[in-house]
């Protein structure tokens, strides 16, 4: 079946092209309904990735956060009309030890191949997770981002030592907010401190035990473990601040993406005997865990609704551009495209 695919062909320019979906293949065909714009999409859209990266990756359909309705599944795994969360990570091999999202052979939507800005998305069966009824679809559209936090926190639970009286999250943006919500749900006994730049943004972390502006952290304030959700140019400051305010043998989880190498205080990592681990992306198990958390802790959905920014109806390429441009203007929050292609 001829499927329209909306690819970014150059910064700020989308074009339609068509791809034939083979209906005899073992795959489920999903019609996207809600797509959420991520920073990574913006880096392609605005053309701020290095020129050689753009030359190699474009044309490519953007978006790796989204949900849709099943319209065709010859296997019967799903019924037509089922709402599913689409998983962007697409492994091509299995490994007993290494998680699917770290296998170098795995492909990722809107990075290695076309993302979800399509009329229909054809997925292997295990790349779709059923969304239970009653969960707000706008919020569910950025489940991928939530699952990345869940994934990092599940690893944190395995890696960090068991003294968890106080944990700090650095970063008051979307990622910090989401990770903080999930942390509270998964580790309700631990005191959670948030470190950020904007007092306005910090004021929305009402569920945290304390919030601190990074330019004014009380002397002697220490956390057992630290989670970095900053990324970009500020990574260096954030990571070094965590090193300063972490107890010996603490664990630092790094979630923020930086385009360039970051110099950090390794001397103090050695002296304090710190552990540092990175997390990126997520796999099917993390999506399933996230959906289970939505159901067991409904307050998560309520908190997440606070970061829904603009919702933009998309019926044509002009609307797509409008959605991405609106997303650039916002200071915080997620821009959701109500996809009507």
């Amino acid at each position: 079946m001829l499927n329209s695919v909306y690819r970014l062909v150059a910064p700020r320019r989308f074009e339609v092209s068509f791809q034939d979906i083979d209906l005899t293949k073992d795959q489920v065909v999903v019609r996207p309904t809600h797509l959420s714009i991520c920073h990574a999409d913006q880096r392609y859209y605005q053309g701020v990735r290095p020129a050689e990266v753009l030359a190699q990756k474009l044309p490519m359909a953007l978006i790796h956060e989204g949900i849709g309705d099943v319209i065709y599944d010859p296997s019967g795994t799903f019924q037509a009309g089922d709402t599913v969360i689409m998983i962007p990570n697409t492994p091509v091999e299995e490994d007993e030890v290494i998680a699917e999202n770290y296998l170098r052979s795995s492909k990722f939507r809107a990075s290695g191949f076309d993302g979800f800005m399509q009329e229909h998305v054809a997925l292997p069966y295990d790349r779709a997770v059923r969304l239970p009824e009653g969960i707000d679809k706008v919020i569910a559209s950025f489940t991928e981002l939530v699952s990345v936090s869940v994934h990092a926190l599940l690893r944190f639970d395995r890696i960090a030592h068991k003294r968890r009286d106080a944990v700090g999250i650095w970063g008051d943006g979307n990622l910090g907010y989401i990770t903080a919500i999930l942390f509270k749900a998964m580790f309700p006994e631990t005191k959670l401190y948030i470190f950020g730049v904007s007092l306005e943004k910090l004021s929305s972390f009402t569920f945290a035990d304390a919030t601190y502006p990074v330019m004014d952290i009380p002397k002697g304030l220490l956390v057992d473990h630290g989670i970095e959700c900053v990324g970009g140019d500020a990574s260096q400051k954030a990571i070094n601040q965590i090193i300063d305010h972490i107890q010996p043998e603490g664990t630092m989880a790094i979630l923020g993406v930086s385009e360039y190498p970051v110099p950090i205080n390794t001397r103090m990592i050695l002296e304090k005997g710190l552990r540092m681990f990175g997390s990126s992306r997520s796999g099917r198990a993390d999506f399933e865990k996230t959906v289970a958390l939505y159901q067991s802790n409904p307050e998560i959905i309520s908190y997440l609704s606070n970061i829904v920014g603009a919702q933009i109806q998309v019926r044509n390429i002009k609307d797509m551009v409008h959605a991405f441009e609106t997303d650039i203007q916002k200071s915080m929050g997620k821009t959701i495209m109500i996809w009507d292609k």
Binding site: M1, V16, F18, M60, A80
Partner: protein, 239 residues
């Protein structure tokens, strides 16, 4: 009940020296007609898909449907077309009436077989508006200025482009109403019909507009084949 009615009656006279009618030509890896049927096939609203083609191409069409839809080929019924576009549509309605009966909820979504780039949304909105208003037509705003000439030599008038649209398909109708209106037309009225929406318009019935897509092109000339081929682009391999 909703039926997909795919009009594959053309004999390709405008395509130049081709061996087959244009709906049977390949774009990508499949015949155009199959691409078009697939778009309807994916929509679960349809009770049956009816494909109407010239008599001499019926066996070929049936074979294609069998080849591409295999055990699900029963969902597609191949019928002989009529002497004109509207006679062809009437053939489909006669079939529906005989097999399923006609009532006010019988909707037909009629579509040119040589418009394989239609979208799920267009089909969905056709069904929706046909149910709500009784008839609808897929259109896009006119980009070229339309010029009216009564004698083919000089301009009679230049209508306001902002109010002009180009008709595409699908066109969708309540089947019973369409049949009644068609049979109430005089032979003169029938002669000036270029499509089925006009039957409603002549009779003073409302036809709702559905927003089409610029790329929902009708493959008519060899040039269109080139355009269609260039629209189908597999993604280049990335590292």
């Amino acid at each position: 009940m909703v039926f997909g009615v795919i009009l594959a009656g053309g004999i390709g006279s405008r395509m130049g020296n081709v061996e087959k009618p244009k709906q049977f030509l390949m774009i990508g890896e499949k015949p155009i007609l199959i691409h078009t049927i697939e778009k309807f096939y994916m929509h679960d609203a349809f009770e049956k898909l009816i494909v109407l083609c010239p008599r001499q191409w019926m066996e070929h069409t049936k074979n294609l449907v069998k080849k591409y839809f295999k055990e699900k080929a029963d969902h597609v019924k191949v019928l002989e077309g009529g002497t004109s576009r509207n006679e062809t549509i009437m053939n489909s309605i006669d079939y529906i009436e005989k097999e399923y009966g006609l009532d006010d909820d019988t909707i037909i979504v009629t579509h040119d077989s040589v418009r394989p780039f239609l979208t799920y949304r267009i089909i969905e909105e056709n069904i929706k508006y046909a149910r709500e208003y009784g008839a609808c037509d897929t259109v896009i705003p006119a980009t070229d200025t339309i010029v009216d000439s009564q004698d083919g030599k000089v301009i009679s008038s230049v209508p306001d482009r902002a109010k002009m649209y180009q008709g595409q398909t699908p066109q969708s109708f309540g089947a019973r109403k369409l049949k009644e209106l068609y049979h109430s037309l005089t032979e003169e009225e029938k002669k000036i019909l270029t499509d089925a929406a006009k039957i409603f318009v002549i009779k003073g019935e409302k036809v709702h507009l559905v927003e089409g897509e610029v790329f929902n092109i009708k493959i008519t000339y060899p040039y269109d084949m080139r355009v269609a081929e260039s629209l189908i682009q597999e993604q280049k391999e990335k590292k």
